[in-house]
Amino acid sequence: MSGVRLDSIVKRFGQLEAVQGVSLDIADGEFVVFVGPSGCGKTTTLNIIAGLELPTAGDVYIGSDRVTDWEPRDRNLGMVFQSLALFPHLTVFDNIGFPLRIKGVPATTLAERVRAVAATVKIDHLLTKKPSTLSGGEAQRVALARTIIVQPAVFLMDEPLSSLDAKLRVEMRTELKRLHASLGATFIYVTHDQAEAMTMADRIVVMNQGRVQQVGPPLAVYSDPANRFVAGFFGVPAMNFIEGELREEGAVLIFEAPALQLNLKPRGPVPPRPATLGIRPEHVRLTPESDGRGATVSLTEPLGDETLVFLDYGGPSSLVAKVSAEDKLAVGDRRGFTFRGDKIVFFDSAAGDRILR
């Protein structure tokens, strides 16, 4: 078992700098999820860890070894690919046994180990089938079994659940977490799905445009985003952003935007400046309309347990609030609204960096 360390990894493809100086320490046994939109460099980073791509600059360490220029097969890794990469011409048995066959493991030992691994992921009844006859979930398990069988120190997974339907994806999420707990190996998982990242990760690495935006436990990333990109990436529906001006008057922090003025507790000295306010929908509270600071309900989206309410308050875009499904609201209703002061975050309007933390 071993951790993984990335030291200032840079990867250029011609003009394009896909990965721009990623440094990261992944502890032994940790479940780390790289998340970000497509093209953010997460898969390239994973391929560099795997050795399938060579970094333009920087180093990769697995355990205490500098493996930057090692062949993939020497790195003691297991990888599950987005397409699963099951060999279509081999049976499930031969697919799972493939890595052992390459290593020259004797046939009887090989068969024993294949059966044992197949049993742990509950596919022992499929061993004689060809991959093309498997369902999505079954193929998934075969790919996992093939990876587990060599007992790698580090598991790399490149969006392995993306081909599954929604229900199965949720099931497999749980199963992967369970597998991680039972194997105790280091898992490095790449996805563009924030829900997968939130539910499975010990730590999330948020990437955008080749750079790491934030590293931290899921809830910290959710509630304490480092910048506007991270804040906007996590959460469904997305965080509300309101462009405006910040200034201090006496002991009050004032945020002023079109049709909106907030008086907040001071958070430290701030010169007057443009800023973006961020507030998550669940931190917008509806109140009976009072003193004219109200909004019109323009749309409701019931989710069952909760309802999303789109509010027109006079600003350039509508405000989304997540309220209990028992609040009966209809389009055209008038309500007041408040923000939970401690949940309001501010970003630099231009750079998007968090300010006044």
Binding site: A50, R73, M79, F87, F98, P99, S132
Partner: protein, 308 residues
Amino acid sequence: MKERARAFALVRHGVLIVWTLVVLFPIAWMVMTSFKDAGDWVSWPTRWVPFVDFEPTLLNYRQIFYFGGSTDTGALRREQTEQAYNIWKATFDSVVIVTISSVLALLLGSTLAYAISRFRTGGPNYPYTILTVRMLPPIVVAIPMLIYYASIPYFFEWLIGRRVEFFDTYYGLTLLYIATTLPYVIWMMLAFIDEVPRELERAARLMGASRLATLRLVVFPLVASGMMVTLLFVFILNWSEFLLALTLSQPKVLTLPVLLNKFQSAVEGRLYGPQAAIGTVVTIPVVIFGFLIQKHLVKGFSFGMIRR
């Protein structure tokens, strides 16, 4: 509407049947001639129906399959007047040269195609460059090759002090066939290998397979159908190759197409019967080979056969 559809089907089938007859006629004629005795080969009016118009005979086949020099069987009465034209020697030469050159071209071409597909060997235009080799008419190649082949013994004599003959030898013709069919193999295999997902190879590499093991265990099994189709294609090309064999090999090494040609010359006369018999015999292996790998042909000809 229904009637129009029926009329259209009728016309369509009619055209196809006529065309089929046009295509099949030469083959039928060849097979028929191979069973006719000398007098019936070019008789007028044409004798169409076996047993009615003409008495079928196996004479032509006995002649071409004839072993040795014995003449005491009455059935081989024509044999004394003509030189040996039995096909055993030519069949052996053809089978050996064509099989070896086709299989070697397939293996070399497949690995080359892999290199071009995965490493862009030779740059983006390389496949087209390769194909230009085949744009020259064979006769343009044949004469210069003859000069090369005639000079090679002297070159080897200078180099290693021993003459190595290429002209009229098995390996001389085999090498030539490998060289001339390699562009086709590369082109066909490139199309198949491009279809194999890269992730399969990456997976194999991560699991510890070397490049060669990946080729052997993953890539080649996946393009097996394509390889069979390519092999058949190249086999047919070499099996029927005439000009280069005529120019660069014979009389010591004699392939079947060159042998066939001998029956239409001023020296030996026009022996349509034995020629038709040889033609029939020569066609059979290709047909059998085609049937044997029919499963692969169907798969291989529908490109994009690999489920992604």
